[in-house]
Symmetry: C2
Subunit: 468 residues, 2 copies
């Protein structure tokens, strides 16, 4: 399967490192098969490649010690958060040690006046926001899954409200990471702005555990808005919906979320969430601001939507109605799976300039129809990012081949439109074949030079991002 | 002077490279002393260290050719934009070739629907916004000077409206750069969001010409707001003004600009711009949005300001009044210099968490008073960044020593408050001594490893950022 092959294993090094680690960590070094498989890739059809052992470190010092040993014996180290990544990021194609951060889940500081917090990487998105509620602040990045924030940083995650609040790349102020040498790097101070040296924070965010192991994060926070409203509007076709998105953003309406569901996805959501939305392309929006502000934003969007041929515009500030709508959006994945019970879902992740979005989505729909494949589509359309959820019987080799053909075709199409094969899921193993096609030899060579300079023995999450 | 010393010159290499370059570029290779000095540092008291020759390339291919020759003969290359950098970034401490990008000033594409544009690095901020006016879009980063966008990217510039629109790090979508090998790197596609590989865009932005020579930029644009309003409010002391800033941002008021002028700076501005502002700490704000929106924002700020002891709150949407106020802010530097005719101005650039801003500004004022130094203060206080403009007779060695002592003391103070020695001016030569103290050996070692991997011969802007 694309990118998922085994790499040469350093058997003696792995055996020795496990012995040495057991002397230090005793029973905390776990090697049971079931546990090891849970710490490899489990979320899609990509093959599960378990590590040889799992340790849950409790401090930066323990991570330093483990990396010291793994460097000495040249053994791979694979950081593990919640295991919700989608491109095989946590697989161990050359074996090695999985570092599970679930015990490093402390919220170390909340600086309300500075609107930031300092946390350990095992804290999950929902746990952080629950902790913050009393402060009137929240962390905005929302990929759907209750991922660990360390994992979200490593993959450069984003989600439904990146259009307003940005991605992990915009919301990590600073981080601490351990290098293979065991050296600890602090990438920045806590000031909101800096021009002090290379931007190591942004280099680490999205590096998928291949440059360092994140042991602490300083995150920007946002004020919980005084008022939140939701709106929906149906459109005759994807082109009209995308035209409304473009106009909304050009007019500077600060939408917090603007999501597209295609007709098939709306049908799936209606069935799964007992809704009665018109089964045509739908835009689902959320507005954050003052009472007056959100009403004005929604009104302005309503006018744009009507110009673009939208119909059935609805607007609500009632929390239960909002939650029902957004719960339906969050359940889109499960709703999609119900279109074909027993099938596995595989999500594409292309992102294109917004002006090309309608062309890209429509071409994908036509191709899916021509191939006879079932794949509801949801999109973070304010960013030009959308997902086709391919529903595949992974026991059927022909279907698998067909799905891979489609994914490759769509990635190439997005690249040809000046877009990317991954807006938010990352490269991992699944997309390793597309990174050079997207960015060219120059960028690939520079990434490889950086990887070799920081991790000369290639022990940090090897076999990912096509960086060897 | 701190950081400004000569480095070993490769005399034979420089002589040979100049001969070879002259064969290709003829009279376009210029070596006149006056021109060379204009292409070295001229904006502060840092010593002028001219390059050996200046070339104005007209294409990426020419930059590749020049870098190929300079790599072959191990000759430094120093990229030059408008020469408005403040930390000796364009000095040539080891000699070498200055690449002046004034002829690479084409706007290659404006994608209005995608709200981005593709430009050559010699385009200045004002030239771009003049070109964009008809499209209803603008580029928001405003460092005051009419800098080149290539230079702004290289130094990670920002300015008065970063609090709303971010810095260069947030507004460069992608760039093209030539590496010492002559290889061209394209860091990203044009999509607004990507998780494809290491974030080379953000690594290059702020790298001060030490990793590659930027030859093309793709920039995010913003919609020109429907309405703009300005407000001013005076405060009894800096602490009250900072408390108002913190509350304003916590309440989520999307201020476009929020600037602090201390009492001395207000006095300077009154004298220079014929204004009658109360000579106490002043906040100067700008709001962007709809007619209703900017009025609501200003009203909300007015209430906060009053709570915090502000007085004389004024609010205007009249363009001429706004321009008068903001012109005064933009002239703050010249106004400050008039406090001591004949003196040179040297600007500090510390940035601290906003909760520490009042302490940091007050401590700076006390220290300046104790040292008997004249230094008006302006601050981009929404970001925690402020500048003391030290007015110094650079002929007086004692004054120079005193100023350097203050700058070092303030940098250390900011670092001790979890802040940075540079919010937006960069490290260059002037702050090279503070980078390691701020970020530690781990980060410094990682930056050096990256520098060596990308520029093994150290020909790209040597002697900057303390990277050898």
């Amino acid at each position: 399967m694309a990118g998922v092959h085994d790499l040469a294993r350093n058997e003696t090094g792995i055996a020795t490192a496990i012995e040495v680690l057991r002397q230090r960590f005793g029973a905390r070094l776990e090697t049971g098969q079931a546990l090891r498989e849970q710490h490899a890739h489990t979320t899609t059809w990509l093959r599960n490649q378990p590590p040889d052992a799992v340790i849950c470190p409790t401090s930066t010092e323990e991570v330093q010690a483990i990396l010291g040993i793994c460097t000495e014996y040249r053994v791979p180290v694979i950081p593990f958060g919640a295991g919700s990544s989608l491109e095989g990021h946590v697989n161990a194609p050359a074996g090695g040690i999985s570092l599970d951060f679930k015990e490093m889940n402390a919220i170390l500081a909340v600086h309300a006046e500075d609107m930031d917090c300092v946390i350990q990487p095992g804290v999950t998105r929902k746990a952080l926001n629950t902790h913050l509620r009393a402060t009137g602040l929240f962390f905005p990045v929302d990929p759907g899954a209750d991922a660990s924030l360390g994992g979200m940083a490593a993959t450069g995650a984003s989600g439904t409200n990146a259009v307003r609040y940005g991605t992990m790349k915009d919301n990590v102020l600073s981080l601490k990471a351990v290098l293979p040498s065991g050296e600890v790097v602090t990438t920045a101070q806590r000031a909101r702005k800096t021009s002090a040296g290379y931007d190591l924070t942004r280099l680490m965010v999205g590096s998928e555990g291949t440059l360092g192991v994140i042991t602490e994060l300083t995150l920007r926070l946002q004020g919980i808005p005084e008022a939140v409203s939701a709106a929906t509007c149906s459109f005759p076709d994807v082109g009209a919906a995308c035209a409304a998105v473009i106009a909304t953003i050009q007019y500077g309406i600060p939408v917090a979320r603007i999501e597209l569901l295609d007709a098939l996805q709306v049908r799936a959501v209606n069935a799964y969430s007992k809704l009665t939305l018109p089964e045509t392309p739908l835009l689902l929006l959320e507005f954050h601001g003052s009472e007056a502000g959100v009403a004005e934003q929604a009104r302005a969007f309503g006018e744009i939507a009507q110009e673009m041929g939208g119909h059935g515009f609805t607007f609500t500030t009632r929390e239960e109605d909002r939650n029902r709508l957004w719960q339906a959006r969050h359940d889109a994945y499960w709703a999609g799976l119900q279109l074909r019970p027993g099938a596995r879902g595989l999500s594409t992740d292309v992102c294109v300039p917004v002006s090309r979005l309608a062309d890209c989505v429509s071409a994908a729909q036509d191709r899916l129809a021509a191939m006879g494949m079932l794949a509801p589509i949801v999109g973070h359309v304010g960013d030009g990012n959308f997902h086709c959820l391919l529903l595949v019987d992974t026991e059927d080799a022909a279907e698998v081949a067909q799905a891979e053909e489609f994914i490759g075709w769509l990635n190439e199409l997005a690249i040809s439109m000046d877009g990317t094969c991954t807006g938010e899921h990352g490269i991992g193993q699944g997309k390793a074949g597309y990174l050079e096609r997207e960015l060219g030899q120059g960028a690939m060579g520079m990434m490889q030079a950086i990887k070799r300079a920081v991790d000369p023995l290639n022990i940090l999450n090897p076999g990912k991002m096509g960086l060897g």
